[in-house]
Amino acid sequence: MEPITRKNSGKLVWLWRSLGSVRLAVVLLILLVIDLSLAYFSINGRSIIFEPMNQVGIWPWLNTYAMANLRYTAWFFIFLVLLSALVLNTLVCTTDRLWKLLRQRKEQKSNKRFFFALSTHTMHLGMVVILIGYLISYTMSQVYPSLTLIPQKETIVAGTNLRVKLTSMTLPIYEGKRLETFTGMVISPSVQLRVATPATERTASLGFNNPVYFQGYTFFLQRFSPTKNANMSNAHYIVIDVRRDPGVLFYFVGISFFLGGLLCYVIFWIRSRQPRRVPS
């Protein structure tokens, strides 16, 4: 590797500035728009190729489904490259400008301008954290999909020391008239789940959009039976996914950062648009 001298330090500064330039950001964003527009037409009617990514993770998916259907998944490879470049660009740009902003903090008389600038950088950092969360989620998640549970029978989640038991199921039948097509069907299932390790246990209610959290694992309801009053099959069971996803915290923290930044930005933007009071 070449040692850093005055001559090539100029090149490094140029490279750093180019990497963090807004022009590069705009080019990357436009390329992302083109790529995602093509993605829409590639996924449309072929979501079956993409759905397994959520269960097997990104690398196994890229090696199998993506490689086998390159015509429809090529956009995803380009998407990953563009997104990585955008993260790099955002990080360099934000680091550079945030550093300058903090250094000039004492010289600035107006708090408003400082916080306005800070809000945009908070959004940038939020977006980077969200994307890091996605990467962690798709590379490091442990997924135990489609676990079928029948009432009162304990099941061991393979590869873990977790034991799960479906203790009760409440499947109220909808008998109203407003939701005509759902008459005689179950629309709000409620399931009691007991999850345990050798050391501890927990009983909690599980439903759609209401997962159960336990010792870093999350249990999601995927399907249930019976779904109708007069179902052909009378079997009582539920199907759950168990996930251990270390990326979740990152992307929710990222969302909070982004929304916090956006809120500050909107407040300062509205205040800056209001006409100043003229002293009487």
Binding site: L36, I43, N54, P189, F208, P211, D241
Partner: protein, 266 residues
């Protein structure tokens, strides 16, 4: 009124709303009485609102499916009605006509390619799905307004006495509020995706990529605006292309097979 509303379907209400929107556009083009144009448009918006309420009534607590286009028409009609009297003062007549033309165009697509026959699904019975839907539709309406403002700027930019209404700066509040709504829609969709499926992105619906595409496009526009790296005319053209992108991605995912509306009406 109540028995009438109980007897009609949302398709019939929407059909009537589209006819009335078209009538309102006709009145505006013929430079007829402004008050009449306004009240005809109001009637169209009311019928459109009832059609949406019908869908929600028959889906709640779940999310009604594919109501994006009729809801977008409603949002645009409300925007038109709120700003109608202000727009009478200057070049606003053209602005009014463009919004009305857009409503009629989108209305035609809604009528001829309906997709509202899908049933709601159980996982959509959460507040996050409703925030995702409503803020997403509001975002598209606001971003379309930004594009219309940009078009007006391009029309009037050579005028020596350009008003603040015709300047490109007048498009920015629409663009920023549209971006805020779109961000809220995306993030509420993400929360819903996690709670419902346990994953950050649900690949069942390809429309997710269209929302991301629109979001990235308007981020690019905001960067161009704040760095002033392009001149106003270039930014206005960029904004207009953004509007076309919104129209394409608002329409295509919500378009069903071609079907004549008369079957539904009678």
């Amino acid at each position: 009124m109540v028995p009438f509303l109980a007897a009609v379907t949302s398709g019939q209400l929407l059909f009537l709303a589209q006819l009335i929107y078209a009538l309102s556009l006709g009145l505006a083009l013929l430079k007829q009485n402004n008050a009449l144009t306004f009240w005809v448009m109001t009637l169209g918006a009311v019928l459109n609102g009832f059609a949406l309420a019908w869908h929600y009534w028959h889906s709640w607590p779940m999310m009604p499916m594919y109501i994006g286009l009729p809801a977008l028409l409603f949002c645009l009609a409300v925007i038109w009605l709120i700003g109608f009297h202000q727009r009478l003062a200057d070049s606003g007549r053209i602005e009014n006509l463009i919004i009305q033309g857009l409503i009629v165009f989108l209305g035609l697509i809604t009528l001829l390619f309906p997709k509202d026959f899908y049933l709601p699904f159980l996982r959509s019975a959460t507040i996050w799905s409703h925030i995702f839907l409503i803020t997403g539709i509001m975002a598209k309406a606001l971003l379309l307004m930004a594009a219309i403002k940009a078009l007006l700027f391009l029309i009037y930019r050579h005028n020596k006495k350009i008003t603040s209404r015709q300047g490109l700066a007048s498009a920015m509040p629409w663009a920023i509020s549209g971006f805020v709504c779109l961000t809220l829609s995306m993030f509420s969709g993400e929360v819903w995706s996690y709670l419902g499926w346990g994953t950050p992105v649900v690949w069942h619906d390809p429309a997710i990529t269209t929302v991301m595409a629109i979001w990235f496009y308007w981020i690019a526009l905001l960067h161009l605006h704040y760095t002033r790296s392009w001149n106003e005319a270039q930014r206005a053209i960029f904004m207009m292309i953004g509007g076309l992108l919104v129209i394409l991605f608002a329409c295509h995912p919500d378009m069903g097979p071609f079907r004549l509306p008369f079957k539904e009406l009678f």
